[in-house]
């Protein structure tokens, strides 16, 4: 495996912020990894994803993605980087209301000057929502909107898929469907960074869990995959019959 993302001593202090949103974070992500980022509200998870996505710049430290130091890119270069390399999925979908599902999916491709309606339909099909392609977001369920957003994130074949609480606004069932999608994508080699509050979901799918507290990565747990015998995982205790 080769390194895809490197944060070196990254600090982010927002304007007016008293303490840093990120305080000296150093972490690397390998190509093909499925990593979950967990931590309390306000700990800096979204800030971390935004910096990796090139949506914002660090106050100090380096963000290197696919060998490119993002600090070396100007605004236009950064926009191109985002368009070509990053797919971003948000908690609240962020679909444009006056465009149909299909048109929403096509936005990143059009920014690139490519017309790929066939691929967009194919993606919607893979995500199981081909029939809603011509509907407007207001007429879609939350789970459908999120799948449209995932299709949009994937349309340019991003090197990196970043998902910030993608199931946070969904009911359990739609949330699980969205997670299953991410798992399928990972199975096909997609590198994924997922922010989630749900430890059950995180550990079900991601083999690595980063814990962020107060702008620092306090733990980097690599979980073991091989299945264990039931008796090694759970022990139901029985007491002897009372006398």
């Amino acid at each position: 495996m080769s390194e895809l993302v490197r944060l070196s001593d990254v600090t982010k202090v927002y304007q007016g912020g008293i303490t840093g949103a990120l305080n000296g974070v150093s972490v690397t992500v390998e190509k093909g990894e499925f990593t979950a980022i967990m931590g309390p509200s306000g700990s800096g998870k979204s800030t971390m994803l935004n910096l990796i996505a090139g949506l914002d710049r660090p106050t100090s430290g380096a963000v290197i993605v696919g060998g490119t130091d993002l600090a070396k890119l100007g605004e236009a270069g950064l926009a191109r980087f985002r368009r070509d390399h990053v797919g971003f999925v948000f908690q609240f979908f962020h679909l444009l209301p006056n465009l149909t599902a299909l048109e929403n999916v096509l936005i990143p491709a059009q920014l690139k000057g490519s017309e790929v309606p066939g691929r967009a339909r194919e993606l919607l099909g893979q995500l199981g929502i081909e029939e809603v392609a011509d509907r407007y977001p207001a007429r879609l369920s939350g789970g459908q909107q999120q799948r449209v957003a995932i299709a949009r994130a994937l349309i340019n074949n991003p090197t990196l898929l970043l998902a910030d609480e993608p199931t946070g606004a969904l009911d359990t069932h739609s949330g699980e469907q969205v997670m299953d999608l991410l798992v399928q994508l990972h199975g096909r080699g997609q590198t994924i960074l997922l922010v989630t509050h749900d430890a059950k979901l995180a550990t079900r799918h991601a083999a690595r869990v980063l814990s962020v507290i107060d702008g620092k990565v306090v733990d980097d747990a690599r979980l073991e995959g091989p299945e264990r015998a039931a008796s090694e995982v759970i022990r139901v205790r029985t007491e002897e019959a009372s006398r």
Binding site: P40, A199, K200, T203, R204, V209, S211, I213, V218, D219, A221, L223, E224, G225, E227, R228, A229, A230, S231, E232, V233, I234, R235, V236, R237, T238, E239, E240, A241, S242, R243
Partner: protein, 177 residues
Amino acid sequence: MSLKYGVLGLLKGEPLHGYEVKSRFEAMLGGTWEVNIGQIYTTLQRLERDGLVRPAGPRGDRGKLLYELSPQGQKALDQWLGEPDSGPQQLHEDIYVKLLLATRVANGDLQGMLARQKRTYLQRLRDLNRLEERARRDGRLDLARLVRGALLHAEADLKWMDELSSERFGAEGARTE
């Protein structure tokens, strides 16, 4: 959980030999516990002494004895099934006591302890997730439900670690005394 009522529950379906009780019990728990055959026989003998089970016919070949539920056993089982679980909550794990000690022992490395424990819980969640998937795949809905319960418990334990490591509990706890 009580072996006594587990045995009564299994005998409700049909009369069984001791070793059948053992293998059905283990199958029911999906291999999450191995029951000692001696424990089964002791339990059956006690249940017979208390009139809750009785031999169904004479000893068969190799001295095997078939047991069935008596009417009193049936009553006891129904009553047990109808009662909610009460009594104090059982905490079996060492971490509950370690935490208390860590706040008292001067060199107790509370944060390190919490971080290591948290990792263990994350791994446990992953293992339980796998087990649940496997149970569902095998059509073992009953076992999947059991695992689901364990998952939610492990999640609560993990949340507890998070709470302890982010709040002032450590400092406060150390000051109390």
